[in-house]
Subunit: 320 residues, 2 copies
């Protein structure tokens, strides 16, 4: 397999999983002139008929016509295959990815969690895989209707070691042309641990406490608990030679305190009765660390709540 | 003050706090022929007019006429003053207890938590105080209407050291006459830690997980988490020279698995929008122990949930 990135321009993109995240980035790329093909499931008929509508803090826009597909076997081979499924759907990758590949296709994994690229790499080989960490606050208001509330930057990094920077540079150029802020990271695993520093406490506690980020940050005890959980994540990362400075915890807490009140993605999944991304965000870090007792406790609580009957969305509604 | 117990027979009892627990034990004592005086707050008028109704696994009964009072200053001095308030009301003891005392009155503290006798002892002196640990599953169905679901035994112990066994023997005789199973404990503090071994994990997790005992015990991860919390409590108790055998944890988990599905008292308080007994059950043990990280995490979660808006009772209803 040739890791050389296709020189064709503009590149053709596939969005595997057109939820809030996949739909948002796909629509931005399409608006910028790229050819984008969207895989949909429940919303397929609606989006095929009506396209995508993006309500965004950066300006609303509508794409009345999009390339909507129900099966990847119907889709053309693509240069960049963006995996934007929830990690709870990664068991479908062996079926979904192969029909989309040409010789130089790359797979960009825009998912949360530790080593989530491994699932795609097992299907297409590690040298095709790029990881991306998204800092996006968006949710789906209805079929084909995405609300972009805040942020949106992506950090990109090669999954396999010692890859040339050709592909990352090309992707960076594409995303910037689509008005998506991008940075590249030299150490993807370190970047994933850094994101877990936030996701483990705030995604996890938001579900257990049924609370927004602002409600959690307004409580002294929960702020202290978040810091304790972050310290565990930091030490676990160090066991994998991913060194995060203690000052990052302080800075991340301060940044979270400045955020608008919002519901975490895990809270949105919980309310929508969807499976929670517990394997990627909790089980994988716990599997490689010898001592994360608070994180383990949170994981056990979340596993229970995931399988228990959930309150209806209305009764769990949060005040902003 | 004379620690000698009154020789008058039958003894006159005061119930300070006629909720499910106080009402249940008071009614049992009254039915057995003791003179019982009940302090009530919200249900005063109803109980004064209609008495108490006990629906019990041991047989239902009604007391159409009871001595109901709204203020302790109106009540006669009593031989045994049973403190059956929630510990969250203990700040009222300095006002409530003195009017009820005669020279030989004793105060029996039937509350959950560590060193809860200290609050009564600060008012009446430690030598008047007896502690009692109740293993009762009961709740209030309405004003003056108590449902006794299961259990009901009390363990009694002297609070002050080196007291003669006269009073415990007399109380034991009274309670047994009232068909209440009683045992005495030589080490009240040890008995309180033993009860915390159950209350900390199960009261605490029931609120965080909105779950009954049976739902928690059906989940492998929560059973393991409960065992981890119990291990912390056991080690904290040992720091106070209260030695609990590790086999007690195994036995307690097995006993909990055999219980009917029921809601813990803290869960009932949570659903009824009442304050939670976090100080007595969590903050006091945490204050004397140097290392209870999981318990501390649970305490922080509960403190948050106590002050956050609570779901309505219907939406939180549990399947039995």
């Amino acid at each position: 397999m040739n890791p050389q990135f296709s020189a064709t321009y503009p590149r053709r993109y596939a969005i595997i999983g057109t939820g809030a995240l996949g739909g948002f980035y796909g629509a931005r790329l399409q608006r910028a002139g790229f050819e984008v093909h969207y895989l949909l499931h429940r919303d397929y008929a609606h989006v095929r008929a009506h396209g995508l509508r993006i309500d965004s803090v950066d300006g609303d826009f509508v794409l009345p016509k999009v390339n909507a597909w129900a099966k990847t076997t119907d889709m053309p081979p693509c240069d960049v295959i963006i995996v934007a499924l929830k990690t709870t759907q990664n068991h479908r990758l062996p079926e979904l990815l192969p029909p989309l590949l040409h010789e130089h296709s790359v797979v960009l994994v825009l998912q949360n969690g530790l080593d989530v690229e491994a699932d795609a790499a097992a299907v297409v080989g590690p040298q095709r895989v790029i990881g991306g960490l998204c800092f996006l606050c968006a949710n789906k208001a209805g079929p084909g209707h995405i609300c972009h509330l805040d942020y949106g930057a992506i950090n990109l990094g090669e999954y396999a070691p010692n890859m040339p920077d050709t592909r990352l540079n090309a992707l960076t150029a594409d995303f910037r042309r689509a008005n998506i802020a991008v940075d590249t990271v030299a150490n993807l695993r370190l970047a994933r641990w850094r994101k877990l520093l936030w996701n483990i406490p705030f995604n996890g506690l938001s579900v257990v406490l049924r609370a927004s980020t602002a409600e959690m940050m307004a409580d002294d005890g929960i702020r202290a608990l978040a810091a304790d959980l972050m310290a565990e994540v930091r030490h676990a990362a160090a066991q994998q030679a991913c060194f995060l400075d203690a000052s990052e915890i302080t800075a991340m807490l301060a940044a979270t305190a400045r955020m608008k009140a919002y519901k975490t993605s895990m809270m949105l999944d919980y309310e929508a009765q969807r499976p929670l991304e517990l394997d990627a965000i909790f089980a994988r870090p716990l599997a490689v660390s010898s001592h994360m007792p608070l994180t383990h406790m949170l994981y056990r609580q979340l596993s229970f709540l995931e399988s228990a009957p959930r309150p209806s969305k209305n009764s769990a509604d949060l005040k902003p």
